[in-house]
């Protein structure tokens, strides 16, 4: 009985203890009351409104502690409170994960909201620790510094983005995926080619193909052409393997239905087999977004005009200006996630019929 009680309220205890201890180490009284009121509310509430209220209080505390850290008003008690607030955030997020809303749309939105809060908390903790402990810029710049750097160097970032993404990644991605798609339709018609090319394609898609980057730079020069070539080759094999596998999904019954309706090869391909292959095609396309970015950036390590994301990262890292490197990384992350997210949305729209979307 006692053990069960302990198990259920373990996190509350873990948060309550440092909150109480903080008072004895010059922790601020208002921070103490904010945390206590958060814990009280979240112990007794199960409704969505109560959880939102407790979240507001918690973020009030974070705002309060951030301002005192910026004013260099740091005491041992404050760190106890930061620790307690981190545990409280876990309580908050896990409560959020179990919310059941009546509104269907809002419930679907929770899939985005919960991880958003988790990410927000990681960034806040990062900021607090960086500023509070004076972490050297070299090791990890605070998020606010990175934000300032992004705002200050928008023109550099845009030039790099244009050079790497618009000129190299996107053309290479289209060439690679497009040619693999066309070739796989040809392969699909010939069992001989299937048996010959598929094992090699499978092998090639686990190879360290990125190693051709220096060769391509020597062949096509320093500018974007060599990067586009690397991206083309890197994206080719995953797309090929996935599309061929996708085209084989349709079973005998599906083929029989199509031939009952008297459809030609192309009709059957366009109306039945390609739609059936879409989940795997999108799988290949999604894997390729990251591969394409990696290929272009790594190719820039081997030689480039003085612009481009890979160039900037390697040069600025050696010049120890890490805030610009992190700004560049942030941009790469945003570009990668945007491409991926766009494809995921498109996939959802086109393959709404697939079981993996309604069996959630």
């Amino acid at each position: 009985m006692l053990f069960n009680l302990f198990k259920n309220y373990y996190f509350y205890l873990l948060s309550l203890l440092p909150t109480i201890i903080s008072i004895f180490f010059e922790g601020s009284v208002s921070g103490f009351f904010l945390l206590i009121s958060f814990l009280l509310i979240s112990i007794f509430t199960k409704s969505a409104l109560g959880i939102i209220c407790s979240g507001l209080i918690l973020h009030g505390f974070v705002y309060y502690s951030l301002t005192s850290i910026y004013e260099a008003n740091i005491s041992v008690g404050l760190w106890f409170q930061v620790f307690a607030s981190w545990i409280s955030a876990i309580i908050f997020v896990s409560k959020l994960a179990f919310i059941r809303l009546k509104n269907d749309f809002l419930q679907k939105l929770m899939i985005l909201i919960v991880p958003f809060f988790f990410g927000l908390w990681v960034i806040l903790l990062w900021e607090i620790i960086c500023v509070g402990f004076n972490v050297p810029l070299l090791l990890l710049p605070a998020p606010s510094l990175i934000g300032v750097q992004i705002a200050n160097s928008l023109d550099i970032l845009y030039a790099d983005f244009y050079q790497t993404v618009i000129k190299a990644v996107i053309p290479g991605y289209i060439y690679g995926c497009g040619s693999a798609f066309i070739l796989s339709i040809f392969i699909d018609r010939s069992p001989f080619l299937q048996r010959g090319l598929l094992p090699i394609g499978n092998l090639m898609s686990v190879m360290p193909i990125v190693g051709i980057a220096p060769i391509m730079v020597m062949w096509f020069g320093f500018d974007w052409q060599s990067k586009a070539a690397v991206v083309t080759i890197m994206t080719f094999f995953p797309m090929l393997v996935n599309t061929v596998a996708g085209l084989q999904i349709a079973n005998n019954i599906d083929h029989d239905v199509m031939s009952t309706w008297g459809s030609s090869y192309w009709q059957s391909l366009l109306k039945m087999r390609l739609p059936k292959a879409l989940p795997l095609i999108f799988n290949g396309l999604k894997i390729n977004t990251t591969l394409a970015l990696i290929g272009a950036i790594v190719a820039e390590f081997f030689g480039t005009p003085i612009v481009g994301m890979g160039f900037r990262i390697s040069v600025e890292a050696q010049r120890m200006s890490f805030d610009l490197v992190w700004a560049e990384i942030t941009m790469a992350a945003i570009v990668g996630s945007t491409l991926y997210g766009f494809l995921a949305l498109l996939e959802r729209y086109l393959t709404f019929w697939h079981p993996s979307f309604h069996n959630r």
Partner: protein, 293 residues
């Protein structure tokens, strides 16, 4: 004869022969401008075509080395050199391989732990899963130079920084397939465990983990290939002196195409070897499980 044609031996060798012949044609086409230039400077006017072809095959610094040149270089730098020599590919491969394997082991363990946390806790599922997917949309290889510079400034050098990149790349496929695998037991089997009054740990050890093994190996196959790529890329920045990636970088600095190609092919052989190794372990494990006949 029929067996040969219905199998994949003949199709594969046909495709391979096709690839090699394209390679040779490419060698002639790409190398001949330089060779013609050489003839011009030497004043050789009436060279025959066969002479030209022969010479494109044996240039010292070809644009595209022909396969046999790469093979000879591979043979010279593996068998004909002492393993401890700095010009031996085996020496460099050993360095790359050690960080690959270290990163892969850490990554697989991390992946399994994350998968168990995700399957057993709804909070972890909702908070961690989207970020794990997002983590892979960040081109980590692009950050590799910075990670290595930062860690070396902190005094951490050698194996660990490269292994970190391998870990980052290899944990993802393991996590994703393990989550799938741990969720693969059917409701009826989970009900059975409940009937026997099994607790969470027992269900994990006796039902979920055993049934996730095929998925684990599928993830590990992708993971180990990714780990090798990570280790190679980890050697590129900061002008590393040893490892397959460093060999490629030096080759590109000095225009040594043959060196780059042989390092690349050797890396591919290692990738094939690692994937086959995982596959062999998978087959023998599944045999013991009685899932294969």
């Amino acid at each position: 004869m029929k067996v040969l044609f219905s199998g994949s031996l003949i199709p594969i060798s046909t495709v391979l022969i096709f690839i090699f012949s394209i390679w040779y044609v490419g060698t002639i086409l790409l190398n001949s401008p330089f060779q013609k230039d050489v003839y011009k400077r030497k004043g050789v006017e009436n060279y025959t075509y066969s002479q030209l072809v022969k010479d494109t095959m044996s240039q010292k610094r070809p644009v595209l080395p022909p396969p046999h040149q790469v093979l000879i270089e591979l043979w010279n730098s593996t068998v004909n050199k002492k393993i401890t020599s700095k010009r031996s590919l085996v020496y460099h491969a050993g360095i790359t391989l050690s960080s690959t394997l270290l990163g892969f082991v850490i990554g697989s363990l991390l992946g399994i732990i994350l998968a168990v946390a995700i399957v057993y806790s709804r909070t972890c599922d909702m908070t961690l899963m989207p970020w794990i997917i997002t983590s892979q949309t960040i081109p980590i290889l692009a950050i590799a130079p910075m990670i290595i510079v930062v860690l070396s400034a902190l005094g951490i050098q050698g194996l660990l920084p490269k292994a970190f990149i391998s870990t980052y790349l290899s944990f993802f496929p393991v996590t994703i397939s393990m989550v799938k695998g741990l969720r693969s037991p059917e409701t009826i089997e989970l009900d059975m465990m409940k009937t026997w009054n099994a607790n969470g740990l027992q269900t994990l050890l006796r039902l979920r983990l055993p049934s996730s093994v095929p998925f684990l190996f599928a993830g590990m196959k992708i993971g180990i290939a990714a780990a090798l790529v990570g280790a190679i890329i980890g050697e590129l920045p900061t002008g590393a002196v040893s490892g397959l990636g460093a060999r490629m970088l030096q080759g590109s600095y000095y225009g040594q195409m043959v060196q780059i190609w042989s390092a690349l092919i050797f890396a591919s052989l290692i990738a094939a070897l690692l994937v086959t190794m995982i596959d062999v372990i998978r087959l023998s494990t599944l045999k013991r499980f009685g899932q294969l006949n």
